[in-house]
């Protein structure tokens, strides 16, 4: 199977750069593994439990290594479900780029459910970047339902950077994290919805280990008649620190519900949440217009900065 030009363009958008078949990578295209590459410290294997997907083994020797695992769906009406498991060795330092893009030119819904599980050993440092994107002139919906499970052992650090900026009609995101002793989690979630799109993000972060910490920052913009629901939940089961911040800009006739939940089950659990929803500040628009921008240009600049 060869990727066509449309799919290649989608791949470049979600990958953030021109994709090259080098280093460690695995490209999934229309429900099949298209190509993959290993490195000395990153080995990718097809799952052997009958489910679609891969097992990725990253050795503790991996330093500043990058792994690309993009997914492109360009067939209208396809439902692609994939299970990817990552085993990150103690002391590894790796960045995993996992974009998913759908091009739907037809009238049937196209859907990708990516279920990713990370087993991160002691002292490993993982940065996981996930960009979701949809396009295509078809009337069929573009649906992305990611599930991300993260288990952090002692002193492991996990940075989860997710963004969904354009073209995804419906998404239900589920994230579950269990933090071990001294481990750290940083989550940055960026989301923009337009038209009739809907997005739900549920996140459970269990701070199980002593001295574990989590910082969750969610920024979203809801335009048109779109709907968003955020439900981040931090559960402190030990001496731990957690901070949840959800900020949303609401425009037009959109609807945003932000429901941060904090649950302390230990006397030394310190957990904070903040949530704010509001329209674009008129003073901000006026200020940028004194720079010579039109109202539309100013609005775009404010949104871009907010989501950055």
């Amino acid at each position: 199977m060869v990727m066509d030009e449309t799919a290649k363009a989608v791949l470049d958008v979600i990958n953030g750069e021109e994709f090259k078949e080098e280093g460690a990578y695995n490209v999934r295209y229309n429900g099949q593994a298209l190509c993959h590459g290993d490195t000395e410290h990153v080995k990718i294997k097809k799952r052997e439990d009958g489910k679609n997907g891969i097992d990725v083994y990253i050795s503790g020797e991996a330093k500043e290594e990058r792994l690309h695992i993009p997914v492109v769906v360009s067939v209208s009406g396809m439902t692609d479900e994939v299970y990817n498991d990552f085993y990150v060795g103690a002391g590894a330092d790796v960045t995993i780029v996992a974009g998913c893009g759908i091009h739907n030119a037809g009238c049937n819904d196209s859907r990708h459910d990516g279920i990713h599980t990370f087993h991160v050993e002691k002292g490993a440092n993982v940065r996981y970047e996930e960009k979701h994107y949809g396009e295509g002139e078809g009337t069929g919906e573009r649906i992305l339902n990611p599930v991300t499970k993260i288990i952090l052992e002692e002193d492991a650090v996990f940075t989860l950077d997710t963004s969904q900026i354009k073209g995804v009609d419906s998404t239900v995101r589920k994230t579950e994290v269990i933090l071990g002793k001294g481990s750290k989690l940083f989550v940055t979630e960026k989301l923009m919805t337009h038209g009739e799109q809907s997005a739900v993000s549920n996140m459970d972060v269990v701070l199980k280990g002593e001295d574990s910490s989590a910082q969750i920052i969610s920024r979203s913009v809801a335009d048109g008649k779109s709907r968003q629901v955020f439900h981040p939940r931090a559960i402190g089961e030990n001496l731990c620190h957690a901070h949840i911040q959800c900020d949303s800009i609401i425009m037009d006739h959109a609807q945003v519900a932000s429901i941060p939940e904090i649950d302390a089950k230990h006397i030394d659990a310190a957990i904070i949440h903040e949530a704010a929803i509001g329209r674009i500040n008129n003073e901000q628009l006026l200020k940028l217009r004194t720079f010579g921008m039109t109202e539309e240009e100013a609005e775009a600049v404010i949104i871009e900065a907010f989501l950055n």
Binding site: R219, D247, N281, E283, Q284, L286, K287, L288, R289, T290, F291, G292, M293, T294, E295, V301, I302, A305, F306, L307, N308
Partner: protein, 242 residues
């Protein structure tokens, strides 16, 4: 040259009409520094906003270098050569100071230029350049960044609304020096709304606005006399009768 003819602006509060700017006319010559002063609530900031197009005048005309800009909206006035520094600048979550300065300049500014702009207003560039223009900055820091944005681009005329407000004495001295430098170069005209004597002392001309009207205008020697002696609220020096 900026020319303002018979500007009027009124608001309606609780069914009553109140004149905020009442038949104001004045001119600012090329390279001139005009300081607008007067009692609080007299209409100075509203006048500044009317000049920039932030508020729309009910009647009157505004000309910039002979071009009528009365019907121009804010961005058209900005593109025609007007600059503006707000008295209370807004914060921008997610935007760095460097990005805001580049947006103000209308082009990507080299980091060194951004640093110079910040140090000109008394901010240590290294500490601020990558900071977000958000609630982590104090009012005084915001104010200085605001002034730096106005100075990031050369305008035909730039309006500063109470630039001294919330600024510490050391930064204020730096700021005064910047105004003096711009004024000396005569590259742009400046309107500063201020109550500060040191700023008033820099002016080529002073215009006193009270109750929405131009009460006095002229060279500083003429207008300064008595400016700090009269009680601007009641015009009375006798505390008992107040």
């Amino acid at each position: 040259m900026l020319k303002v003819e018979n500007l009027n602006f009124q608001i309606t509060e609780d069914g009553k009409t109140k004149k905020i700017i009442d038949d104001v006319s004045f001119e600012v010559a090329d390279g001139e520094l005009l300081v607008i002063t007067g009692p609080n609530g007299g209409g100075k900031s509203t006048l500044a906003k009317l000049l920039m197009g932030v508020e729309k005048a009910d009647s009157g005309r505004i000309f910039l270098d002979g071009e009528e800009i009365t019907d121009y909206d804010i961005n058209h006035r900005a593109n025609a050569g007007l600059g503006f520094a707000f008295q209370q600048p807004p914060r921008f979550k997610g935007m760095t100071v460097e990005k805001l300065l580049s947006l103000a300049a209308g082009k990507q500014l080299p980091t060194a230029v951004c640093c110079k702009l910040l140090s000109n207003v008394g901010l240590c560039a290294k500490e601020y350049i990558n900071r977000q223009v958000d609630a982590t900055l104090s009012g005084g820091e915001m104010k200085r960044i605001e002034i730096a944005t106005a100075m990031a681009k050369e305008h035909k005329i730039c309006i500063y609304d109470e630039p001294e407000a919330g600024i510490d004495l050391w930064s204020f001295t730096m700021l005064v020096k910047q105004f003096e430098k711009i004024h000396k170069e005569k590259k742009e005209s400046i309107i500063i709304i201020s109550h500060q004597e040191r700023i008033i002392n820099m002016a080529d001309r002073i215009m006193v606005i009270k109750d929405g009207k131009v009460e006095k205008t002229g060279q500083k020697e003429e207008v300064m006399q008595g400016l700090f002696m009269d009680n601007p609220v009641c015009g009375c020096m006798d505390e008992e009768s107040c």
